[in-house]
């Protein structure tokens, strides 16, 4: 909270801000929540857990055939083990990795709510939780992909995964050509959040370098 919003409550705060602030005050007074714990929860998902986690997992799968095999066989163990990444826990208790190939393109959605693999991708973007995506991904995934600028060959099988249970899915996108011999760190920079949901592809190296980042 910045000091200006304390100085002029009501004049600057929206109705939702006032309502949530009142709720938090009440719950702290009751002793049901610890405000420092709330700070820690926000800090975790705003700054520490996000799609860079998943990008590291994908980069290792591209670079290390034994890890790829483990990931596709038991993603929960391969991603969560202390000796690999230790990405585990809430909304990633049971993970499955889906590998894209020239024949099969996987897309993940949760039509019923917003199930998403938090330990590897962080919190879902607004569009993933929204009615347009949740309604259309299962019936018109090619139309959805077109809105993300992705067009796949007509004979590519589009396989949509509706997250109806506590199994959380992440996509392993295809490794871009022209990346032979790259380090995992360099490879990870090509892995976008959307490529791990299935609404995007990994960045090609040339475009990536032209973009300068």
């Amino acid at each position: 909270m910045d000091s200006s919003s304390h100085a002029h409550p009501g004049s600057e705060l929206t109705e939702m801000e006032l309502r949530v602030r009142a709720l938090e005050t009440l719950l702290v007074e009751k002793g049901y929540v610890d405000p420092a714990a709330l700070d820690a929860l926000v800090e975790t998902y705003e700054h520490r857990v996000g799609p860079r986690n998943g990008a590291r997992v994908v980069a290792r799968a591209w670079a290390d055939p034994a890890f790829r095999e483990w990931l596709l066989r038991d993603a929960t163990a391969a991603i969560g083990a202390d000796e690999t990444f230790g990405f585990r826990g809430r909304q990633g208790e049971h993970l499955v990795a889906l590998e894209n190939t020239p024949c099969v393109h996987n897309v993940v959605v949760c039509t019923l709510c917003s199930c998403y693999p938090w330990p590897v991708l962080g919190l879902p973007p607004v569009w993933y939780k929204s009615a347009p995506y949740r309604s259309r991904a299962v019936i018109d995934p090619r139309g959805v992909l077109a809105e993300f600028g992705v067009t796949l060959p007509a004979d590519t099988e589009i396989r949509v995964w509706d997250s109806t249970a506590e199994i959380r899915y992440m996509v392993v996108p295809m490794r871009p050509a022209g990346t032979d011999g790259w380090t995992e760190e360099r490879l990870a920079a090509l892995v976008t959040r959307d490529s791990m949901i299935g609404t995007g592809l990994a960045r090609p190296p040339a475009g990536f370098e032209e973009g300068g980042r």
């Binding site: 929540v33 996000g50 585990r88 709510c113 018109d140 959805v144 509706d162 249970a165």
Partner: protein, 220 residues
């Protein structure tokens, strides 16, 4: 329940509109709403299935016109009121007007990392053999329960094939009602897209996780 949350196959919501470089939160109230919802969940007064059911019980018009964290807040308030943790008067006043419910322990800041790391695994020990195996043909049952279910409408009464067996998991339909975990075998089922949508689809197949009681052996 056949609520507004069950969106698969609906039409008319418009374009998806992804935001470039989207931040995790769009306003400070979203940060606090997210954290308060998680923290109250850690008090153990309800489970994740009850939380989902509370959100789904929102009036459909309200559900579809609310932002995601507004829906979370509505669900949270409903759960707290139902369990006597707070009163409407206290919510309106924004302060405590009565003693707190006894035995409710706040998650301490020092416990956040461990609590998130533990998560809430739903896998349980098997006490009976699985009825189905990969490759088996199945059909989903036609059900329309009044309570929470994880079988979406577009997947009811449809033919599919088992592609994976996930083990035995807590059954949300039971858990959401406070009727116990009643764990069941959970399967990944693949449905051909034309079985679900006829010619009006650009999907090839849909995979969804289905509990054993959602499934039956197809008739001859």
């Amino acid at each position: 329940m056949n609520g507004a949350q069950d969106l698969g196959g609906m039409m008319g919501f418009g374009p998806i509109d992804p935001e470039a470089d989207e931040p995790p939160f769009h306003a400070d109230w979203e940060r606090r709403a997210f954290a308060v919802t998680l923290a109250m969940g850690f008090t153990g007064r309800w489970n994740i299935d009850m939380a989902r059911q509370a959100r789904e019980r929102l009036d459909p018009a309200r559900y579809l016109s609310s932002s995601y964290y507004e829906i979370w807040l509505e669900g949270l308030v409903r759960l707290m009121l139902e369990r006597g943790l707070v009163t409407r008067e206290e919510l309106a006043a924004g302060r405590s007007l009565a003693p707190a419910l006894e035995g409710v322990a706040a998650l301490p800041a020092a416990g956040v990392a461990a609590a998130l790391g533990r998560g809430g695994p739903t896998k349980r020990a098997a006490t009976s053999p699985a009825r189905f195996a990969p490759g088996d043909a199945v059909r989903t049952r036609v059900i329309h329960p009044q309570h929470h279910t994880r079988l979406p409408r577009y997947l009811r009464g449809k033919a599919g094939r088992i592609v994976a067996v996930h083990g035995v998991h807590v059954f949300p339909d039971s858990s959401a009602q406070g009727a116990g975990e009643s764990p069941q075998w959970l399967y990944c089922v693949r449905f051909e897209a034309d079985e679900l949508w006829g010619p009006d689809t650009t999907a090839s197949s849909i995979c969804a996780d289905c509990w054993e009681s959602y499934l039956e052996t197809p008739g001859p």
